[in-house]
Protein backbone atom coordinates (compact mmCIF):
# COMPACT_ATOMS: atom_id res chain seq x y z
CA UNK A 1 0.00 0.00 0.00
CA UNK A 2 1.52 3.28 -1.09
CA UNK A 3 -0.73 5.52 0.98
CA UNK A 4 -3.68 5.38 3.31
CA UNK A 5 -4.23 4.75 6.98
CA UNK A 6 -3.81 1.73 9.22
CA UNK A 7 -4.71 1.66 12.90
CA UNK A 8 -3.78 -1.23 15.15
CA UNK A 9 -4.30 -1.82 18.83
CA UNK A 10 -1.54 -2.47 21.33
CA UNK A 11 -1.28 -6.18 20.49
CA UNK A 12 -1.13 -5.58 16.76
CA UNK A 13 -4.75 -6.33 15.80
CA UNK A 14 -5.78 -4.34 12.76
CA UNK A 15 -8.71 -2.04 13.63
CA UNK A 16 -9.00 0.51 10.84
CA UNK A 17 -7.58 0.22 7.37
CA UNK A 18 -8.19 2.23 4.27
CA UNK A 19 -8.13 -1.12 2.48
CA UNK A 20 -11.59 -2.22 3.65
CA UNK A 21 -14.97 -0.80 4.51
CA UNK A 22 -16.29 -0.68 8.05
CA UNK A 23 -19.90 -1.04 9.12
CA UNK A 24 -21.54 2.07 10.57
CA UNK A 25 -24.65 2.57 12.65
CA UNK A 26 -27.76 3.31 10.61
CA UNK A 27 -29.89 3.61 13.73
CA UNK A 28 -32.57 1.51 15.31
CA UNK A 29 -34.64 -0.68 13.04
CA UNK A 30 -38.35 0.02 13.22
CA UNK A 31 -40.35 -2.46 15.28
CA UNK A 32 -43.01 -3.87 12.94
CA UNK A 33 -44.87 -6.36 15.11
CA UNK A 34 -44.60 -9.42 17.29
CA UNK A 35 -45.51 -12.14 14.82
CA UNK A 36 -45.68 -14.99 17.33
CA UNK A 37 -46.08 -15.04 21.06
CA UNK A 38 -46.82 -17.48 23.85
CA UNK A 39 -45.80 -21.15 23.80
CA UNK A 40 -46.11 -21.47 27.55
CA UNK A 41 -47.99 -24.71 27.01
CA UNK A 42 -47.99 -27.42 24.37
CA UNK A 43 -50.64 -26.50 21.79
CA UNK A 44 -53.69 -28.75 21.99
CA UNK A 45 -52.27 -30.62 24.97
CA UNK A 46 -52.68 -27.91 27.56
CA UNK A 47 -50.63 -28.32 30.68
CA UNK A 48 -50.51 -24.64 31.56
CA UNK A 49 -46.98 -23.29 32.20
CA UNK A 50 -45.33 -26.46 30.98
CA UNK A 51 -43.12 -24.39 28.69
CA UNK A 52 -41.09 -21.25 29.31
CA UNK A 53 -42.45 -19.36 26.32
CA UNK A 54 -41.10 -17.67 23.22
CA UNK A 55 -41.80 -14.63 21.08
CA UNK A 56 -40.78 -13.63 17.56
CA UNK A 57 -40.42 -9.92 16.87
CA UNK A 58 -40.11 -8.39 13.39
CA UNK A 59 -38.19 -5.20 12.53
CA UNK A 60 -37.49 -3.28 9.33
CA UNK A 61 -35.09 -0.64 8.06
CA UNK A 62 -34.56 0.96 4.67
CA UNK A 63 -31.48 -0.34 2.87
CA UNK A 64 -29.93 -1.44 -0.40
CA UNK A 65 -30.95 -5.05 -1.20
CA UNK A 66 -27.40 -5.71 -2.43
CA UNK A 67 -25.79 -4.75 0.90
CA UNK A 68 -27.28 -6.76 3.76
CA UNK A 69 -26.99 -4.94 7.08
CA UNK A 70 -25.78 -6.46 10.31
CA UNK A 71 -28.38 -6.40 13.05
CA UNK A 72 -27.52 -6.12 16.73
CA UNK A 73 -29.90 -7.04 19.53
CA UNK A 74 -30.02 -4.86 22.64
CA UNK A 75 -32.29 -6.93 24.89
CA UNK A 76 -34.96 -5.38 27.05
CA UNK A 77 -34.96 -8.58 29.08
CA UNK A 78 -31.25 -9.20 29.53
CA UNK A 79 -31.75 -12.54 31.26
CA UNK A 80 -33.75 -14.03 28.40
CA UNK A 81 -32.13 -15.56 25.33
CA UNK A 82 -32.32 -13.96 21.91
CA UNK A 83 -31.10 -14.56 18.40
CA UNK A 84 -31.59 -13.58 14.78
CA UNK A 85 -33.82 -16.12 13.05
CA UNK A 86 -33.77 -14.73 9.54
CA UNK A 87 -33.31 -11.56 7.54
CA UNK A 88 -34.48 -10.68 4.06
CA UNK A 89 -35.06 -7.72 1.78
CA UNK A 90 -38.16 -6.53 -0.02
CA UNK A 91 -38.73 -3.23 -1.83
CA UNK A 92 -35.61 -1.54 -0.43
CA UNK A 93 -36.50 -2.62 3.07
CA UNK A 94 -34.49 -5.07 5.13
CA UNK A 95 -36.48 -7.17 7.58
CA UNK A 96 -35.25 -9.23 10.49
CA UNK A 97 -37.04 -11.66 12.80
CA UNK A 98 -35.71 -11.91 16.35
CA UNK A 99 -36.38 -14.83 18.69
CA UNK A 100 -36.90 -14.02 22.38
CA UNK A 101 -37.45 -16.59 25.12
CA UNK A 102 -39.61 -16.11 28.20
CA UNK A 103 -43.24 -16.00 29.24
CA UNK A 104 -43.57 -12.26 28.61
CA UNK A 105 -43.13 -10.53 25.27
CA UNK A 106 -40.35 -7.96 25.64
CA UNK A 107 -39.22 -6.76 22.21
CA UNK A 108 -35.56 -5.76 22.22
CA UNK A 109 -34.04 -2.73 20.53
CA UNK A 110 -32.51 -3.78 17.21
CA UNK A 111 -29.74 -1.64 15.73
CA UNK A 112 -28.72 -1.87 12.08
CA UNK A 113 -25.20 -1.38 10.76
CA UNK A 114 -24.47 -0.67 7.10
CA UNK A 115 -21.65 0.34 4.81
CA UNK A 116 -20.99 4.10 5.04
CA UNK A 117 -21.38 4.57 1.32
CA UNK A 118 -25.03 3.55 1.71
CA UNK A 119 -25.73 6.09 4.42
CA UNK A 120 -26.48 9.80 4.24
CA UNK A 121 -23.52 12.00 5.01
CA UNK A 122 -23.24 13.45 8.45
CA UNK A 123 -23.61 17.18 8.90
CA UNK A 124 -20.69 17.29 11.29
CA UNK A 125 -17.60 18.84 9.81
CA UNK A 126 -14.92 17.12 11.83
CA UNK A 127 -13.69 13.63 12.62
CA UNK A 128 -11.73 11.09 10.64
CA UNK A 129 -12.57 9.39 7.36
CA UNK A 130 -10.82 6.87 5.17
CA UNK A 131 -11.49 6.03 1.54
CA UNK A 132 -10.85 3.01 -0.65
CA UNK A 133 -8.53 3.42 -3.66
CA UNK A 134 -11.68 3.82 -5.80
CA UNK A 135 -12.80 6.76 -3.69
CA UNK A 136 -15.58 4.93 -1.89
CA UNK A 137 -16.03 5.94 1.75
CA UNK A 138 -14.70 3.18 4.02
CA UNK A 139 -14.65 4.69 7.52
CA UNK A 140 -16.25 7.85 8.83
CA UNK A 141 -16.15 8.71 12.50
CA UNK A 142 -19.18 10.95 12.02
CA UNK A 143 -21.32 7.93 11.13
CA UNK A 144 -20.65 5.93 14.30
CA UNK A 145 -18.49 3.05 12.98
CA UNK A 146 -18.97 -0.35 14.52
CA UNK A 147 -16.57 -0.92 17.39
CA UNK A 148 -16.55 -4.64 18.11
CA UNK A 149 -16.01 -5.28 21.79
CA UNK A 150 -15.81 -9.06 21.54
CA UNK A 151 -16.33 -11.81 18.96
CA UNK A 152 -16.45 -15.45 19.85
CA UNK A 153 -17.06 -18.74 18.07
CA UNK A 154 -19.66 -20.60 20.11
CA UNK A 155 -21.84 -23.68 19.89
CA UNK A 156 -24.79 -24.77 22.04
CA UNK A 157 -25.08 -28.23 23.62
CA UNK A 158 -26.05 -30.93 21.12
CA UNK A 159 -29.44 -31.70 22.66
CA UNK A 160 -31.56 -28.72 23.74
CA UNK A 161 -34.06 -30.41 26.05
CA UNK A 162 -33.63 -30.00 29.80
CA UNK A 163 -34.73 -33.63 30.07
CA UNK A 164 -31.97 -34.90 27.80
CA UNK A 165 -32.80 -36.95 24.72
CA UNK A 166 -36.46 -37.97 24.84
CA UNK A 167 -37.37 -41.59 24.21
CA UNK A 168 -40.13 -43.47 22.44
CA UNK A 169 -41.33 -46.28 24.72
CA UNK A 170 -44.08 -48.85 24.86
CA UNK A 171 -45.40 -50.53 27.96
CA UNK A 172 -47.86 -47.80 28.95
CA UNK A 173 -51.53 -48.27 29.65
CA UNK A 174 -53.94 -47.66 26.79
CA UNK A 175 -54.67 -43.95 26.28
CA UNK A 176 -51.86 -42.87 28.57
CA UNK A 177 -51.26 -39.22 27.72
CA UNK A 178 -49.46 -37.86 30.73
CA UNK A 179 -46.37 -35.88 29.76
CA UNK A 180 -43.35 -37.01 31.75
CA UNK A 181 -40.58 -35.11 29.96
CA UNK A 182 -39.14 -31.59 30.37
CA UNK A 183 -39.06 -29.98 26.91
CA UNK A 184 -37.78 -26.64 28.22
CA UNK A 185 -34.27 -25.65 27.25
CA UNK A 186 -33.33 -22.93 29.72
CA UNK A 187 -30.83 -25.19 31.51
CA UNK A 188 -28.99 -26.24 28.36
CA UNK A 189 -26.20 -23.88 27.41
CA UNK A 190 -22.46 -23.45 27.08
CA UNK A 191 -20.68 -20.53 28.73
CA UNK A 192 -17.72 -18.64 27.23
CA UNK A 193 -15.61 -16.00 28.92
CA UNK A 194 -15.21 -12.50 27.52
CA UNK A 195 -13.76 -9.28 28.94
CA UNK A 196 -15.79 -7.81 31.79
CA UNK A 197 -15.09 -4.12 31.27
CA UNK A 198 -18.55 -3.48 29.81
CA UNK A 199 -21.44 -4.41 32.08
CA UNK A 200 -24.40 -6.52 31.01
CA UNK A 201 -26.87 -3.64 30.78
CA UNK A 202 -24.75 -1.95 28.10
CA UNK A 203 -24.11 -4.95 25.85
CA UNK A 204 -25.67 -5.70 22.49
CA UNK A 205 -24.91 -8.57 20.17
CA UNK A 206 -25.30 -9.93 16.67
CA UNK A 207 -25.99 -13.66 16.84
CA UNK A 208 -27.81 -15.84 14.31
CA UNK A 209 -30.02 -18.78 15.34
CA UNK A 210 -28.37 -21.23 12.97
CA UNK A 211 -28.36 -24.47 14.95
CA UNK A 212 -31.79 -25.99 15.16
CA UNK A 213 -33.31 -29.14 16.53
CA UNK A 214 -36.50 -31.17 16.74
CA UNK A 215 -37.15 -33.73 19.47
CA UNK A 216 -40.20 -35.77 20.42
CA UNK A 217 -41.42 -37.91 23.29
CA UNK A 218 -43.70 -40.82 22.37
CA UNK A 219 -45.66 -43.10 24.68
CA UNK A 220 -47.22 -46.22 23.21
CA UNK A 221 -50.18 -47.56 25.17
CA UNK A 222 -51.79 -50.97 25.00
CA UNK A 223 -54.70 -52.84 26.56
CA UNK A 224 -56.12 -56.30 25.88
CA UNK A 225 -59.71 -56.89 26.89
CA UNK A 226 -60.71 -60.52 27.14
CA UNK A 227 -64.19 -61.92 27.42
CA UNK A 228 -65.16 -64.66 29.80
CA UNK A 229 -66.15 -66.56 26.65
CA UNK A 230 -62.51 -66.73 25.59
CA UNK A 231 -62.04 -63.97 22.99
CA UNK A 232 -59.85 -60.90 23.30
CA UNK A 233 -59.78 -57.43 21.77
CA UNK A 234 -56.60 -55.30 21.56
CA UNK A 235 -56.40 -51.53 22.01
CA UNK A 236 -53.51 -49.26 21.05
CA UNK A 237 -52.68 -45.61 21.61
CA UNK A 238 -49.85 -43.27 20.82
CA UNK A 239 -49.25 -39.94 22.52
CA UNK A 240 -46.55 -37.72 20.99
CA UNK A 241 -45.20 -34.40 22.17
CA UNK A 242 -42.63 -32.57 20.06
CA UNK A 243 -40.72 -29.31 20.13
CA UNK A 244 -38.53 -27.43 17.68
CA UNK A 245 -35.64 -25.27 18.89
CA UNK A 246 -33.29 -22.65 17.57
CA UNK A 247 -29.93 -21.60 18.90
CA UNK A 248 -30.21 -18.53 21.15
CA UNK A 249 -27.83 -16.42 23.21
CA UNK A 250 -27.45 -14.36 26.35
CA UNK A 251 -24.67 -12.05 27.41
CA UNK A 252 -23.60 -11.34 30.95
CA UNK A 253 -20.85 -9.14 32.30
CA UNK A 254 -17.80 -11.21 31.38
CA UNK A 255 -19.49 -14.09 29.59
CA UNK A 256 -21.41 -15.23 26.54
CA UNK A 257 -24.04 -17.95 26.94
CA UNK A 258 -24.79 -20.11 23.89
CA UNK A 259 -27.98 -22.05 24.41
CA UNK A 260 -31.37 -22.67 22.92
CA UNK A 261 -34.79 -21.14 22.55
CA UNK A 262 -37.98 -23.00 21.74
CA UNK A 263 -39.44 -22.12 18.36
CA UNK A 264 -42.51 -24.35 17.99
CA UNK A 265 -44.18 -27.30 19.70
CA UNK A 266 -47.06 -29.66 19.18
CA UNK A 267 -48.95 -32.67 20.40
CA UNK A 268 -50.80 -35.48 18.70
CA UNK A 269 -52.66 -38.49 19.99
CA UNK A 270 -54.20 -41.56 18.39
CA UNK A 271 -56.29 -44.28 19.95
CA UNK A 272 -57.51 -47.40 18.12
CA UNK A 273 -58.96 -50.77 18.87
CA UNK A 274 -59.45 -53.84 16.78
CA UNK A 275 -62.76 -54.93 15.38
CA UNK A 276 -64.21 -57.53 17.72
CA UNK A 277 -67.69 -57.59 16.23
CA UNK A 278 -67.27 -61.12 14.93
CA UNK A 279 -66.36 -62.45 18.29
CA UNK A 280 -68.88 -65.24 19.03
CA UNK A 281 -71.37 -63.24 17.08
CA UNK A 282 -72.00 -61.00 20.02
CA UNK A 283 -71.40 -57.73 18.22
CA UNK A 284 -70.19 -56.35 21.50
CA UNK A 285 -66.90 -54.90 20.25
CA UNK A 286 -66.83 -52.54 17.28
CA UNK A 287 -63.47 -51.55 15.82
CA UNK A 288 -62.44 -47.94 15.39
CA UNK A 289 -60.55 -45.13 16.96
CA UNK A 290 -59.74 -41.47 16.83
CA UNK A 291 -56.94 -38.99 16.89
CA UNK A 292 -56.08 -35.41 17.66
CA UNK A 293 -53.18 -33.44 16.29
CA UNK A 294 -51.66 -29.95 16.19
CA UNK A 295 -49.52 -30.63 13.20
CA UNK A 296 -46.59 -32.83 12.47
CA UNK A 297 -43.09 -32.03 13.62
CA UNK A 298 -41.02 -30.45 10.83
CA UNK A 299 -38.56 -33.33 10.56
CA UNK A 300 -37.39 -36.44 12.40
CA UNK A 301 -35.65 -36.06 15.75
CA UNK A 302 -32.19 -34.57 15.36
CA UNK A 303 -30.01 -31.48 15.80
CA UNK A 304 -28.70 -29.82 12.65
CA UNK A 305 -26.19 -27.04 11.97
CA UNK A 306 -24.43 -27.91 15.19
CA UNK A 307 -21.16 -26.18 14.45
CA UNK A 308 -19.41 -23.14 15.81
CA UNK A 309 -20.83 -19.80 14.78
CA UNK A 310 -19.81 -16.31 15.77
CA UNK A 311 -21.49 -13.95 18.21
CA UNK A 312 -20.35 -10.34 17.87
CA UNK A 313 -20.67 -8.16 20.96
CA UNK A 314 -20.51 -4.37 21.13
CA UNK A 315 -21.11 -1.59 23.63
CA UNK A 316 -24.62 -0.29 22.94
CA UNK A 317 -24.02 3.06 24.67
CA UNK A 318 -22.17 4.34 21.63
CA UNK A 319 -25.17 3.89 19.38
CA UNK A 320 -28.36 4.44 21.40
Amino acid sequence: MMHGITVKNTVGHLLISSEFECMHCAGAAQFVSTIASGLTSLPNYGGYSLLNGRHIHRYAITGNPADPPMFFIKPTAMDESHGILNQWSSSNQWYVDVLQTGATSQPPIVLAFMLPSAMPASGQGYGIATFLPNGRLAFDSRLRPLAIYHAQSVVPPAVPCNGGTPQSNDGYSWNNSTLDFDFNCNNKSNRYDMPATVTQDNLMFSAPCTAQAVYSRKKYGFKRSCSTYGGCQDHWSTACWWAMYHQAYRVNTGSVIAGWGMYAAGYWFTSNWEDGSGFLGTGLFGGGGGSTSTGAQPYADKTINLSENTIIVADARYYL
Binding site: P68, Q87, I148, A151, I304, N309, I311
Partner: protein, 95 residues
Protein backbone atom coordinates in the same frame (compact mmCIF):
# COMPACT_ATOMS: atom_id res chain seq x y z
CA UNK B 1 -4.45 4.73 28.82
CA UNK B 2 -2.41 3.09 26.10
CA UNK B 3 0.66 4.89 24.84
CA UNK B 4 -0.58 4.83 21.26
CA UNK B 5 -3.70 4.18 19.25
CA UNK B 6 -6.72 6.24 18.32
CA UNK B 7 -9.80 7.50 20.12
CA UNK B 8 -12.82 9.09 18.47
CA UNK B 9 -15.32 11.26 20.28
CA UNK B 10 -18.89 12.47 19.85
CA UNK B 11 -19.47 16.22 19.68
CA UNK B 12 -20.37 16.07 23.36
CA UNK B 13 -17.00 14.56 24.17
CA UNK B 14 -18.11 10.97 24.73
CA UNK B 15 -15.64 8.35 23.49
CA UNK B 16 -17.35 6.03 21.03
CA UNK B 17 -14.43 4.39 19.29
CA UNK B 18 -11.21 3.48 21.00
CA UNK B 19 -8.43 1.17 19.98
CA UNK B 20 -8.26 0.20 23.63
CA UNK B 21 -11.58 -1.62 23.47
CA UNK B 22 -12.12 -2.50 19.82
CA UNK B 23 -11.07 -6.03 18.98
CA UNK B 24 -12.22 -7.12 15.53
CA UNK B 25 -12.89 -5.33 12.26
CA UNK B 26 -15.60 -6.02 9.74
CA UNK B 27 -14.00 -7.00 6.43
CA UNK B 28 -17.04 -7.75 4.28
CA UNK B 29 -19.93 -10.07 3.60
CA UNK B 30 -21.51 -12.03 0.79
CA UNK B 31 -24.55 -14.20 0.22
CA UNK B 32 -24.06 -17.85 -0.72
CA UNK B 33 -26.91 -19.32 -2.79
CA UNK B 34 -28.77 -22.46 -1.80
CA UNK B 35 -27.35 -25.79 -2.93
CA UNK B 36 -24.19 -24.33 -4.46
CA UNK B 37 -20.67 -23.59 -3.32
CA UNK B 38 -19.33 -20.08 -3.79
CA UNK B 39 -15.98 -18.42 -3.13
CA UNK B 40 -15.35 -14.77 -2.43
CA UNK B 41 -12.01 -12.99 -2.46
CA UNK B 42 -11.33 -10.29 0.13
CA UNK B 43 -8.11 -8.53 -0.81
CA UNK B 44 -7.88 -7.07 2.68
CA UNK B 45 -7.32 -10.54 4.12
CA UNK B 46 -3.85 -10.54 2.64
CA UNK B 47 -3.02 -7.98 5.35
CA UNK B 48 -4.53 -9.95 8.21
CA UNK B 49 -3.80 -13.26 9.83
CA UNK B 50 -6.79 -13.96 12.04
CA UNK B 51 -10.31 -14.34 10.69
CA UNK B 52 -13.65 -15.11 12.29
CA UNK B 53 -16.82 -15.83 10.29
CA UNK B 54 -20.48 -15.45 11.11
CA UNK B 55 -23.12 -17.33 9.13
CA UNK B 56 -26.81 -16.46 9.12
CA UNK B 57 -30.03 -17.48 7.40
CA UNK B 58 -31.17 -15.11 4.70
CA UNK B 59 -34.50 -15.34 2.89
CA UNK B 60 -35.07 -18.67 4.65
CA UNK B 61 -38.15 -19.14 6.79
CA UNK B 62 -36.68 -21.29 9.53
CA UNK B 63 -39.75 -23.02 10.82
CA UNK B 64 -40.89 -25.46 8.21
CA UNK B 65 -37.84 -27.08 6.73
CA UNK B 66 -34.65 -28.91 7.48
CA UNK B 67 -32.55 -25.86 6.72
CA UNK B 68 -28.86 -26.73 6.42
CA UNK B 69 -26.66 -23.66 6.52
CA UNK B 70 -23.42 -23.41 4.56
CA UNK B 71 -20.09 -24.07 6.24
CA UNK B 72 -17.13 -21.82 5.48
CA UNK B 73 -13.41 -22.26 4.98
CA UNK B 74 -10.60 -19.78 4.47
CA UNK B 75 -7.69 -20.25 2.09
CA UNK B 76 -5.49 -17.14 2.00
CA UNK B 77 -7.72 -14.24 1.06
CA UNK B 78 -10.53 -16.49 -0.23
CA UNK B 79 -13.57 -17.51 1.81
CA UNK B 80 -15.56 -20.46 0.46
CA UNK B 81 -19.09 -21.37 1.55
CA UNK B 82 -20.52 -24.77 0.71
CA UNK B 83 -22.79 -27.58 1.79
CA UNK B 84 -25.94 -25.61 2.59
CA UNK B 85 -29.42 -26.03 1.17
CA UNK B 86 -30.51 -22.48 2.05
CA UNK B 87 -29.23 -19.01 1.23
CA UNK B 88 -26.60 -18.05 3.75
CA UNK B 89 -25.16 -14.67 4.65
CA UNK B 90 -21.46 -14.90 5.39
CA UNK B 91 -19.92 -12.08 7.44
CA UNK B 92 -16.14 -11.95 7.66
CA UNK B 93 -14.26 -10.22 10.46
CA UNK B 94 -10.56 -10.08 11.00
CA UNK B 95 -7.87 -8.61 13.17
Amino acid sequence: MTAFGIQLFTPSGHTFFSTQSTTWSYVGSFIAPANAAVSHVFDALSLIGEVIIQRAFIDSPPGNQEAIIHTCTRNGNTITASGGNVRTMVVVMAR
